[in-house]
Symmetry: C2
Subunit: 146 residues, 2 copies
């Protein structure tokens, strides 16, 4: 049985613990997948662009749940390395973001390895449990930030 936590004590702060877990899981994914040369913030961007080509900055950042201005900067290394192409750059102009051919193939090589890592993580608690946890966290987060 799990020990009951005193939720009014700061060591059980939801914000602190979410940050902590976020670092811990990122550490595991990075250690398993670093040979692809992709960081944990970059692969979701590539995957999102594969699923939704020609997205805006605003649309994409919204979908990824990150600040728009953070996305602007996170794209720079990906553009520099030729994985993403941004057409119509410039202030006031809509930007159309696309995966390059290199971006597609890089992502294509990454996914199978990522699936192995994800599987290891899912096995820790089981798929059903992870499903519930992700759903609950989604529900909690969206009920707060409205």
């Amino acid at each position: 049985m799990a020990k009951k936590r005193e939720m009014a004590s700061m060591e059980n702060c939801v914000c602190f613990n979410m940050r902590r877990f976020s670092r811990a899981f990122a550490h595991f994914f990075v250690s398993e997948l670093q040979h692809h040369g992709l960081l944990p913030t970059q692969t979701p961007i590539l995957a999102a662009l594969a699923a939704k080509p020609d997205a805006n900055m605003a649309e994409l950042s919204d979908w990824l749940g990150m600040d728009r201005t953070t996305l602007v900067r996170n794209l720079h290394p990906l553009e520099r390395d030729g994985l993403v192409k941004a057409s119509g750059k410039g202030r006031g102009n809509r930007v159309s973001l696309k995966l390059t051919t290199k971006g597609q193939s890089t992502l294509g090589e990454f996914v199978p390895d990522w699936q192995k890592t994800q599987r290891k993580v899912v096995e820790t608690l089981g798929e059903a449990r992870w499903n519930e946890i992700l759903d609950d966290l989604e529900r909690a987060a969206s009920s707060l930030n409205k």
Copy 2:
């Protein structure tokens, strides 16, 4: 009932979603507590120092689950603002970290407001559910990074 997720699909990446939730909860805590002038990484440090005075860099970073070198830098604003005092600074020297009087009073004023915010978050899913989730995530994370 919650829709079943395809866990082999990158939009359900545990790493990505943990980062996303982490940002979302941090956003809520910051918006509610920013008038105290403390950022979400800083308050756990103050709370840890209140509970464990005279901690090392290494001990403290270990307890907080963050990289030691990250802690070194996160302490700078707190030292600059006079909330934390580091005695015996310097390479090779053990550092003894302490809350200053100002640090104690700042933390003392912060905690009641933090508890209100934490309560709002805990209410989203209920205390029992949050307990399970935090325990499960702890278990999953520690089974991976060993």
